[in-house]
Symmetry: C2
Subunit: 225 residues, 2 copies
Amino acid sequence: MRNRPIPEATVARLPIYLRALLDLAEGRGETNVSSEELASLAGVNAAKVRKDLSYLGSYGTRGVGYDIEYLLYQITRELGLTQDWPAAIVGVGNLGRALASYKGFSERGFRITALFDVDDSIVGQEVGGLPIRHLDDLKDIVADEGISIGIIATPPASAQEVAEKLVDAGVKSILNFAPAVVNVAPDVNVRKVDLSIELQILSFYQQRTQAIQTAREANRRLSQA
Amino acid sequence: MRNRPIPEATVARLPIYLRALLDLAEGRGETNVSSEELASLAGVNAAKVRKDLSYLGSYGTRGVGYDIEYLLYQITRELGLTQDWPAAIVGVGNLGRALASYKGFSERGFRITALFDVDDSIVGQEVGGLPIRHLDDLKDIVADEGISIGIIATPPASAQEVAEKLVDAGVKSILNFAPAVVNVAPDVNVRKVDLSIELQILSFYQQRTQAIQTAREANRRLSQA
DNA sequence: TCTGGTTTGTGATAACTCTCACAAGCGCAT
DNA sequence: ATGCGCTTGTGAGAGTTATCACAAACCAGA
């Protein structure tokens, strides 16, 4: 099982286990956790937890469970969170500002070290202690500060152009909040977070259940008549 | 093919096609689009586009492609976006504020009609033209305004409690931005958007490629020596 | 009407992911 | 030492998703 590449689906869940383990480590003095318990904290089933963790290695003890601290360390290491990753945010509108001061990033070892925009009326201002730089200076600053992650929070029309500039500056990991598809070279990793897409998916299922309920009610009226 | 339930994976892509189609409709005067072109705009492959669309029905014409307007309408209808869904945001911190003024929501038929918080020092303030109400009034306001979607943008510790209040108020669709797992009854739909989890996933792949490059370089140095 | 070029719709298959169920292994009590 | 209860690790099978590849269908032009 070891040495096999870790499935994408598993990678996507490791951060959830990590968070649950951090909660456990802070909480009561227990040193161990069972797959059952971890599963319930993570909102998945126990078999999945065990299989996921088995891809990292055999870190549990049968009859006992997993040592919380040890597992924490292993997941942290596997996710590459033992080093910290300087990140830049491009686009300092409402969303960019919120991201710049988002606690969750720094808590996980992601330091936002630079903010960029093209709007001269805000370039130079400070947000959360960081000055807003002009996008033209991106390449130099990325090199100087060893920035490895780019976060796009621009309007959709600028997203592709910004992505290209980030790639040109040497960034290999991009998190895209703009509601637009960005195409980049295959050795660059792009993940997207699309706020309104998630709502649209909810809408689909909401409509569905509502339709079913309406049908049930119609049915009831018919059978009563 | 018709009448079969639409796979989740397909539902998750429909909003992406929708966005691409909207761009097309605004752009040049073309009335048709091929699966190939739509695929490239959506960043997926053509076969997937065709299979996805075939779940909705046979809306294309062989040798020609898909009529943009017609397809737009069908996807809009399927996603339940012909009606608009009043939504409430709970938690008016940085993120909540950014979401409240996020253009992407209203553009897709999601109206934010209420904001809630528990902090008395901000309750009563206005954000984007909407007053911040106290969470205690949630149930009444949800009922009055027919709110069907709840957006959680609170700190993680409050997320579960807020989710329960939303459910108690009759909300069946929840979008959770708090970095915490929320458990609700199975007839309630929860989707989560976790900003830092996405970064952690990027970190995993970034570390991976970096490790490969380091190994390659070491190899090169060895073979040169 | 027929022919050629184009594009859809979809069976078939491959790849991936989830779930089940149980043997293997551990610790504790006796 | 031995047995019992508990929990992991994982093979096997089910379910879901992605990809391939091609027949069916359409349009335009002759």
